[in-house]
Symmetry: C4
Subunit: 125 residues, 4 copies
């Protein structure tokens, strides 16, 4: 299949709630996700920069998405160069050397009920 996507993406919203009703279960732990789709026949080398309200950006976080694969990247599991702080406003820019598609999702489980939100990220070439 022909590839699909763009090289540069941004998610202006970012916030990982510190609390979780079901924090023992990874699926129900409050989290933010950047879902990355690499429909190419070659790996996509991805660089993520995290922006904050009152300090310098952190990054790049580097990762590779294998050919014909999707990677649902949880921001609460990033560690290098440093973890993303909880209860803190952030935003992210995601740059790839090949076209990818990026969708942003949050699951908030601070209450017994789950809350979800999702949007296709902002794209540029």
């Amino acid at each position: 299949m022909e590839t699909i996507g763009r090289l540069r993406w941004a998610i202006a919203e970012g916030y990982i709630p510190a609390g979780s009703t079901d924090g023992e279960d990874r699926r129900f732990r409050s989290h933010e996700t950047a879902c990355l789709l690499n429909a190419n026949e070659e790996p996509a080398q991805v660089r993520i920069t995290i922006y904050f309200k009152d300090r310098e950006p952190v990054g790049p976080y580097r990762l590779s998405v294998a050919p014909r694969r999707t990677l649902h990247l949880r921001f609460d599991e990033l560690t290098d160069p440093e973890p993303v702080p909880k209860d803190t406003d952030f935003a992210s820019v995601i740059e790839s050397d090949r076209p990818i598609v990026v969708q942003h999702t949050r699951l908030d489980s601070r209450k017994e009920a789950l809350a979800l939100m999702s949007t296709t990220a902002y794209a540029e070439d």
Copy 2:
């Protein structure tokens, strides 16, 4: 009416929760939907490819959307070539021979409360 839409769409997020509080009622069973609008005067032939984290893509799933109709396709009801696994990260690329519009929605009923999310999918020609 003049047609509206694009030929190639992608949904980078995909995840069908295995559990449902109200699983007996199809409306309340946790599900992912790709809402397809075909505003053309002819049928749209659609091919869906499902991408995973750690195995080769599956598809194409083939379907037709009748002229001047919308089809709200539930991923949990796809069977050919194979069902979409639950509790598994996936992504999808949707290709049509005529312009269509695609919107992605999830209903999560793992808890008594419902959680919803929706976004216009990513489009290209």
Copy 3:
């Protein structure tokens, strides 16, 4: 201010839940909304066509959005040419004679907890 927007929009998702925990209160009654922003100095004449799964489209629903105003149109309050059925999949195309911006929102109050979703609609000129 210079105007902003596009002439043709589509919302591929549409579904008005029949039930509501708080149906007496209009704010909490399950609903779908098309939020229309007319930033022009003249009225925008808008035509909405509703598409279904298994019958011909209905419309146009005609309305006017005053200059420099927003109209949050609830699909459950449309009556002419006919009400939009509940518990029924639909989609909509929104055409305007001047540029407008369209955002889609659903509030689902079938359970005691509210569920919300929203997305910028798909735009074309």
Copy 4:
């Protein structure tokens, strides 16, 4: 890093629920947010205009986003030229002198359960 974004954005949906179950805690107070990302090396001067259903627009609300920073602006905390009324439909246009990215989010805590929604705003140059 090269900058990313557009100069003019619109959010057609806007509604700050008057009630909150957890109103004492700023995090859980029902709110609307415009998340602004300024990836430039210079400050972005931003002007927001708020549109209503039945009265003239209010604004501009003026603010600056520092270089390489994100600002998650809560509409319920705007005061100049005037607060944004609660339980009232509105829409907003956001104009910047440098490219920015804008994402819209609402948290609704009128019920014990939280409801969330988010979307990348509509962009133009």
